[in-house]
Symmetry: C2
Subunit: 397 residues, 2 copies
């Protein structure tokens, strides 16, 4: 089969019985041929899960050999036993490739407050070890192993040429789930054969995450398990990337993450629209982020999009309470390219036409412009529908 995964990695995804439906994968294994560079960014929640504690202590690193991930159980709020289970799960993953127990990372997503079913995990690791491969089918199986109730798996890949070397990058992610307590949880894994130092990998990953995975929300509830990992095998060859070449790699990785990250709100619980919010003309990047995020988290904006309502009042007033100073007389707003509000005043527009475009298109583009400076951001979120409520309020009735 054609190789899809970057050189140096093999992957597998299987069902080991954590999810009762055997057609749904619940365990993913990624192993490397040689020790490789690993970087990670993690949830900022003070209440964080055991796998986050393990991985945070082990990254950045230049000697990682494996990642073991499971869905169906988040191993969060499980105390000392949960930490012991996460360490045990890592040890078993490392053993697949005869590595030391601290050379593996772990990811978990799903129900919180319950202990991991360690017998199933062990069986799954054994089964996955027999199915490791580098083709596209194996990568999709692996990407399916980290899903909870996502409607579809989320992968992206690209090959970029840096200097004379073709560099391969692939990524997988999962979005909002609905298992048990249903914490929206983000997990992402990026694999590359680029040669990177551990320090560069960590630095690049943090910057890329800030402009991609940290620019999405479903309902704004930061989970206990959010983790994004980058593994670099270096098997594309040559010295670790630096300077212009490192910048080229970062740009390619960002491009991939900008493709992967919005798949999460597009597949958000109950979502019928992806909402893309641009905030431009801001004084600082932090100000742009704060405004875009406040608009993204407004239930009134999200329900307006669900109802195909070009409700400029809700959008402009959400920006107004973002606790970022701006000149109200300088605000301009476009929705799906239609001008609704210019320089601080509403303008006449064809509401039926804008509503029809919102109804017809799966993505709603909200463009806010200010007159404070040059900074901007793009932020993605989901609309808010009765189906979201059904999923999160009525699931046990």
């Amino acid at each position: 089969m054609t190789r899809f995964v970057p050189a140096g990695f093999r992957v597998a995804g299987v069902n080991c019985g954590i999810k009762s439906n055997p057609s749904k994968n619940d365990l993913t294994l990624i192993v490397t041929d040689q020790p490789c560079v690993a970087a990670g960014v993690y949830t900022q929640n003070l209440i964080f899960a055991a796998p986050v504690a393990v991985d945070r202590a082990r990254t950045p690193s230049a000697r990682i050999r494996a990642i073991v991930a499971n869905s169906g159980n988040a191993n969060a709020c499980t105390g000392h036993r949960g930490l012991r289970d996460a360490l045990d799960m890592a040890r078993q993953g490392a053993a697949v490739c005869q590595a030391a127990e601290d050379q593996a990372l772990v990811l978990s997503t799903g129900i919180i407050g319950e202990y991991l079913p360690m017998e199933k995990i062990a069986r799954g690791i054994t089964l996955a070890a027999q199915n490791l491969d580098g083709d596209e089918s194996a990568f999709v199986q692996a990407a399916r192993g980290i899903l909870t109730t996502d409607r579809q798996h989320k992968v992206a890949d690209r090959t970029v040429h840096i200097g004379d070397r073709p560099i391969r990058i692939v990524g997988m992610a999962k979005g909002a789930g609905m298992i048990g307590p249903r914490m929206a949880t983000l997990l992402g894994v990026l694999l590359t054969d680029a040669p990177l130092s551990a320090g560069s990998a960590q630095n690049v990953l943090q910057q890329v995450a800030d402009a991609s995975f940290n620019c999405i929300s479903v309902e704004g509830h930061t989970s206990t398990n959010d983790t994004l990992l980058l593994l670099a095998s270096g098997q594309a060859g040559g010295e670790p990337l630096a300077g212009v070449e490192l910048a080229q790699f970062q740009k390619a990785l960002l491009g991939l993450c900008e493709e992967l990250a919005p798949l999460i709100p597009a597949d958000g619980e109950g979502a019928t629209h992806l909402i893309t919010i641009h905030a431009n003309g801001c004084a600082t990047p932090a100000a742009a982020r704060q405004i875009a995020q406040t608009v993204a988290n407004s239930a009134l904006v999200k329900t307006a999009v669900a109802g195909a309502d070009p409700n400029w009042g809700r959008i402009v007033s959400a920006a107004g309470y973002a606790q970022v100073p701006f000149d109200p007389a300088g605000v301009t707003l476009r929705v799906n390219g239609h001008l609704l509000y210019a320089r601080g005043e509403p303008v006449a527009f064809d509401a039926a036409a804008v509503s029809a475009s919102m109804r017809a298109e799966p993505e709603t583009r909200i463009e806010l412009a200010f007159t404070e400076g040059q900074a901007g951001i793009r932020f993605w979120t989901s609309d808010l529908t009765a189906e979201y409520i059904r999923i999160n309020a009525d699931y046990h009735t």
Copy 2:
């Protein structure tokens, strides 16, 4: 009829045709016999409505004679013409009691981005002027004139004895609305015959608002029109309150506002439960507020309450992303008095019993305790139901 409104005030509420249903009031007039002290606190939104601009410039004051309020139209985002309309509305209210045009305040709530129907407003003021009274019925009619789609009017009253003087305080408020763009808007008016200096009135009102009306949310979207006014006629007699007596008055006013404010989320759009969140043991009052507000605004917490789900994971993890440092091992959580989480670990509890109590009681009490200090807060919000989505997404279909 028995006097209900404090001495020095007469009030009326009428329908003047802004709302098409003639049984729903849409204009409220409050006049005073003599110039009185007025204090106000207003929306922090940078996008604020014309009436907010007018009132903010006119308070605190010692010479206010009238308040004119309308529902059905918020006079927000209406530019220069909106400001002229607000000033004109105030002038007409002042004329009812032969006062100067700058001796009146104005309040508006309802649809945003449309000009006030000034002919209807003028007719309403004339009609209301013929119906001014001081009895309870007149006050209820006045309280009905500021409602949008609140299911019921919201009033509270009390008489307190300060020194040898009985002091009368009455208040009215409105909550989440659903007219046109449906901005959740808070309006509140407090009337008293207490003698207060303008400076004391402003100071007391700000402190009382911070502990009552600023501790509620429905979906966390700060409106363009939020306004809370306190008018003090001084007709209880004597020198302006100071020292211990002023503190007694503040306590009484706070008690009244603690009764009035939670009526708003209890009657929030689509709400089936009032949620009361206590955050105690925090380092500072600001930290307690930040934690309680973050829990209150979590869609996952609000849907869990709607579904009668004692979902401690959602509550504890919402506290965890409030961006307030705390020791996770010191967190304790009770829901409706049941201990769910103690000192950083989940505890065994009877989930069916807690769920049954959440289903049976109209109020869900969430008590979070930390080990950082002595500061605490009580915060009120609504649960989140499919009816909220219907109101805000589907209203024009």
